[in-house]
């Protein structure tokens, strides 16, 4: 009888429940992703320190979003903190910052074609010329050069004197835009400069101090680059703390053409331009004509949300605004028409941090 008690106790101990995750692809994720010739990729950063980055695809024609397209096609996780995506030679390049990897995938099947490792903190990707690709880094004064055919690192561009400055955090390079033979790159994290890179020589040929932390850039035409400078964001920033501003840079002269000061303490991010208007996140969505002489008096699309996370504008003028909500659940993207009227809203992945258009 006592043996029975013993066996019962042992059996109680040994009840093991190692459940598999339920529905691993998740609701709303199709295994046959919609892959039309045009559409919008949403790069979902995920939660920092966890493998929760993902890629979504939205078809504006059908108003259908497909989430987790990379995982569904490949069977493995994108990684930790997806940063940005660029289409190069008909292939998608997506950088995963905290995982230190860039995946190259087929735009139709989402199947991986290759990957680039050896870049510690990849951020943005820019096709400099032909098969030459620049990859900026958050924690380095070096932009990596990669061959678009072999996916091998072929060289690097060192930003001069960046590692000699008093507050450099090892350096940082961010968004890149190519105009003619030059690539312009804003240096954000603890930096002040806009740099000009000659794509023929892969050298930094000019540097322009724009203030504390130039965060985002957009091109209004081939002569003017707009830069959103966040001003350091917090009092005590070793790089400095000042009012954020919107700066127009004359690319021919590589000089500041005009500058507009924004309220001190405002959180500003994601500068976009459709050729006629500038858009950025600041207490909602701000819109300003490129030829305006003063800042808008009120938000174009006001919002009380403190978690608006990214912004993009389509060729047709529709505005897409991502909201991370509480940063630990699926975010949303709201689509507005060019007048700021809500068209639709759809759920994407965690922390929708960036967009990439497939045109």
């Amino acid at each position: 009888m006592k043996i029975k008690y013993f066996l019962f106790a042992v059996a109680t101990m040994l009840v093991a429940c190692n459940n598999e995750p339920e529905n691993p692809n998740g609701p709303g994720t199709s295994t046959n992703p919609d892959t039309p010739s045009t559409g919008l990729y949403i790069i979902n950063e995920g939660m920092y320190g966890s493998p929760s980055a993902s890629l979504s695809f939205y078809n504006p024609e059908t108003d259908v979003v497909t989430n987790n397209v990379f995982h569904s096609a490949n069977g493995y996780i994108l990684g930790d903190v997806a940063s940005s995506m660029t289409i190069i030679n008909g292939q998608g390049w997506i950088s995963v910052n905290n995982s230190g990897i860039i995946y190259i995938f087929d735009l139709s099947t989402y199947k991986e074609k290759g990957r680039i490792q050896g870049i510690n903190s990849p951020r943005y990707i820019c096709q400099a010329s032909g098969d030459k690709v620049y990859i900026s880094q958050m924690y380095s004064n070096v932009i990596k050069i990669v061959d678009a055919k072999t996916y091998k690192i072929t060289g690097s561009i060192t930003v001069p004197e960046m590692d000699m400055k008093p507050s450099f955090m090892g350096g940082s390079t961010e968004e890149m835009i190519k105009v003619g033979d030059y690539v312009y790159c804003n240096c954000w994290s603890y930096q002040r400069d806009l740099i000009k890179i000659d794509t023929k020589t892969d050298k930094v040929v000019a540097t322009l101090d724009l203030g504390v932390q130039p965060k985002s850039i957009a091109l209004s035409d081939d002569t003017t680059l707009w830069v959103l400078v966040d001003g350091g964001s917090w009092n005590g920033n070793p790089a400095g703390y000042e009012a954020p501003k919107l700066v127009a840079v004359d690319l021919a002269e590589f000089k500041v053409k005009k500058s507009y000061e924004l309220p001190l303490g405002d959180s500003v991010a994601h500068l976009e331009c459709d050729g006629n208007y500038l858009y950025w996140l600041e207490n909602g969505v701000q819109r300003m004509a490129v030829d305006a002489t003063e800042l808008p008096s009120e938000a174009f699309i006001p919002s009380t949300s403190w978690s608006l996370y990214s912004l993009t504008v389509s060729e047709s003028g529709d505005i897409y605004v991502a909201d991370a909500i509480d940063y630990t659940q699926s975010g949303t993207v709201t689509r507005y028409d060019s007048e700021g009227n809500e068209v639709s809203i759809f759920m994407v992945g965690v922390c929708p941090a960036n967009f990439c258009w497939k045109n």
Binding site: Y5, F6, M13, L14, V15, A16, C17, N18, N19, E20, P21, E22, P24, N25, G26, P27, T29, G49, S50, P51, S52, N67, N68, H71, Y76, I77, G79, N98, G100, I101, G114, Q117, G118, N120, Y139, V142, K149, Y151, S156, P166, F168, M169, G170, S189, Y190, D230, S233, W234, G236, P238, D323, A324, I325, D326, Y327, T328, Q329, S330, T332, I345
Partner: protein, 677 residues
């Protein structure tokens, strides 16, 4: 027959004493049978208290308090493996809502609010008690979830000179050493304990979060596989030294002095999706901590006074960086945090009448945090802030009738210049059926938890406008303690219900850093059940079984941030709905077999509880087994022990993206010379 039962009981008592002493030796002396009549002390009226069995504390020298609580309580222990940050949560609350004291000294980090239980070796602790929910208020305020009281005792120092040395050798190049020297004579007792642990901790695992490619000559992917990797950069080296000095000049007075030094150096392993592990990088945490507590206890027949004064200093260094192509180590984080805590506490209990006890408590806690992050900055990120926290309470414990007892308490706490509202608490005990020791217990209380100094001042992101988190909680429970024949049985079941407002949570911002907000209201409710029993199946043998189970529903009760906020009404991330632990011990003559199990159900990682990739961690059951054989010779006692961890080789993660080791082994040899015996 009656005598046979008595004999069984005597044997069981003897074995229980042995088991309770853990690694201590079994002597040949036969103890006299004693009958213990336990009355519930007035100080514990209505309290939901769990006392951790000393068997668990003394099981083996490699265990930290995180391991002990994982297998010996219903608390949720969140850990990324041995020698990694291990936090403990009561009743679905946050780790910072668990107040932890050591010999009366608060050891929660004043910067972070939480306590790292992996830095508390179980072998350095003599007593461990858990105060659930409002019961923590009788000890300290601020424990919205509960409180853990860790202490050392002079009682565990045997008379004369004593020595014990334990050597452990285990998988993954793991070495554990423990030395204890004791000396007690007359009014004095001394004890010195040292623990040193070292491990490469480089266990192998199949990384299912990664897929590696195999290419053909034309750079096309022709095949893929999940790599088998090692837990790189997971090594650690921890040293602890505990000194106890006690002086008891007479029956009424007792003085105690305890020092504890910690020297720790721990590398931090990368996540399972880190593809840059092949670069030279630095991810390391080092800590030097000193804690000292001086205590004086005075007791008379109807009066008891206790004074505790303490000081703690911690130097915490965290370095993160990697090598640039030019060979330069790019320090992204070079954080140095110095915390100093000065503590003074006085408690007095006065037995005014046979059935009425009055108590008063005053505590002062002055904390300073000075943290700098030099990294590559000319001007380091830094803050240097202090805060005086104070607390005062009075309480009355009243045994109103033979069956009914009440405790009423009011307290007030201060954090800096901010005073909490008056904190009331009420506790009730009622003896329902004495033959079964059946008691009904209930309590109700408010509570407040002030923001930590990091919450308010950390650069960047600190928010000096944060308000204290406020809690309201009540619980109702039944407990039983009886003996069926020769089988002693204890059991308890408690329902709890808690509301926490202004819950502080750190969230990312658009500015590139995290910042805390008073964001959530949380409703936490559930059931805690525990049971233990012992049987003597045959001569010279004993079986002990102890189990705990908790069902915890801890949901976000806040207003929706937007109409698409799906977190409202959902279980908080990393709070398991079900948790279960059990310990089964079997003793036979000089042999002891101990089987431990711990189960946690699925834990969501997303506030919206979505069943998507990386949205949750599956439930898991982990089982450890130890087998010990003791030898006793004239000059010394010796014990050999084999520990098998993760017996069934479960593949699991407690923290997402951090794999846990599969089955692994460690052997221990303990030597205890018999000086002058």
């Amino acid at each position: 027959m009656k005598y046979r039962y008595k004999a069984y009981f005597a044997i069981f008592t003897l074995l229980a004493v042995f088991v309770a002493r853990g690694a201590d030796v079994v002597t040949d002396k036969m103890l006299d049978e004693v009958r213990v009549i336990a009355n519930r002390p007035m100080s514990e009226i209505g309290l939901q208290k769990t006392v951790i069995d000393s068997v668990a504390l003394r099981e083996n020298i490699s265990l930290s308090m995180a391991d002990v609580l994982n297998f010996g309580s219903s608390l949720f222990v969140k850990s990324a493996g041995r020698a990694t940050l291990s936090t403990v949560s009561f009743r679905g609350t946050a780790p910072s809502h668990t107040v932890v004291v050591w010999n009366g000294l608060p050891i929660n980090s004043p910067a972070l609010g939480m306590t790292d239980f992996s830095l508390i070796p179980a072998y350095l602790i003599d007593r461990a008690s858990l105060y659930h929910g409002s019961s923590s208020l009788m000890q300290s305020s601020g424990g919205l979830g509960g409180m853990i009281d860790l202490s050392n005792s002079a009682i565990d120092i045997p008379q004369g000179f004593s020595l014990q040395y334990v050597q452990g050798v285990g998988s993954f190049t793991t070495l554990d050493q423990f030395l204890r020297l004791g000396y007690a004579v007359g009014k004095w007792s001394f004890s010195t304990r040292a623990v040193y642990s070292y491990s490469k901790n480089d266990f192998k695992f199949v990384n299912t979060d990664k897929m590696l490619n195999i290419y053909d000559d034309d750079n096309n992917i022709i095949s893929q596989y999940h790599p088998t990797e090692r837990n790189e950069n997971g090594g650690y080296s921890d040293f602890h030294l505990l000194q106890q000095i006690y002086f008891q000049p007479n029956r009424n007075n007792r003085l105690g002095l305890n020092f504890w030094y910690i020297g720790s150096s721990r590398n931090i392993a990368p996540t399972t999706v880190d593809y840059i592990a092949d670069r030279r990088y630095l991810n390391k945490q080092r800590e030097n901590t000193f804690r000292g507590v001086l205590s004086w206890g005075f007791s008379q027949s109807n009066f008891r006074l206790k004074l505790n004064g303490g000081y703690a200093h911690t130097w915490l260094a965290y370095d993160y960086g990697f090598t640039l192509p030019n060979g330069y180590m790019n320090h992204l984080t070079e954080s140095r945090t110095n915390t100093d805590t000065y503590f003074l506490k006085a408690t007095a209990d006065w037995l005014l009448l046979d059935n009425l006890m009055l108590s008063a408590k005053v505590a002062l806690d002055y904390n300073n945090v000075c943290t700098t992050n030099h990294a590559n900055f000319a001007t380091p990120l830094a803050y240097d802030e202090s805060r005086l926290d104070a607390e005062a309470s009075i309480s009355a414990r009243w045994q109103t009738t033979r069956n009914l007892a009440l405790t009423a308490m009011i307290s007030e706490s201060m954090a800096g210049r901010s005073w909490s509202p008056v904190i009331p608490a009420l506790f009730v005990d009622y003896a329902l059926y004495r033959p079964l020791g059946l008691m009904a217990k209930a309590s109700i209380a408010r509570n407040y938890h002030a923001p930590t100094l990091n919450d308010m001042y950390f650069q960047p992101g600190g928010n000096p406008d944060l308000e204290s988190e406020s809690g309201f909680t009540y619980d109702v429970g039944l407990s039983m303690s009886t003996q069926f024949g020769i089988v002693p049985v204890k059991a308890s079941a408690t329902w709890f219900d808690s509301y926490i407002d202004n819950w502080i949570i750190w969230l990312p911002t658009n500015k590139g850093f995290f910042s805390p907000r008073n964001m959530k209201s949380v409703h936490s409710s559930g059931v805690e059940v525990s049971a233990e029993a012992s049987v003597v199946p045959f001569k010279d043998a004993a079986i002990n079984l102890a189990c705990t189970y908790s069902w915890t529903r801890s949901v976000n009760n806040s207003e929706a941030l937007s109409q698409y906020d799906n977190s409202v009404g959902k279980q908080l991330p990393y709070v398991p709905l079900h948790s279960f632990s059990s310990m089964l011990g079997f003793d036979w003559r000089q042999w002891t077999l101990l089987l431990k199990g711990s189960y946690y159900s699925k834990r969501y990682t997303m506030s919206s509880n979505e069943d998507v990739i990386s949205g949750s961690l599956p439930g898991y059951f982990v089982c450890n087994l130890t087998l010990e054989r003791r030898f006793s010779w004239r000059p010394l006692d010796l014990s050999a022990k084999l520990a098998i961890n993760n017996l069934f080789d479960a593949d699991y993660q407690t923290v997402m993206s951090h794999p846990m080791p599969g089955i692994n082994f460690e052997v221990f040899l303990s030597i205890t010379p018999k000086f002058g015996k």
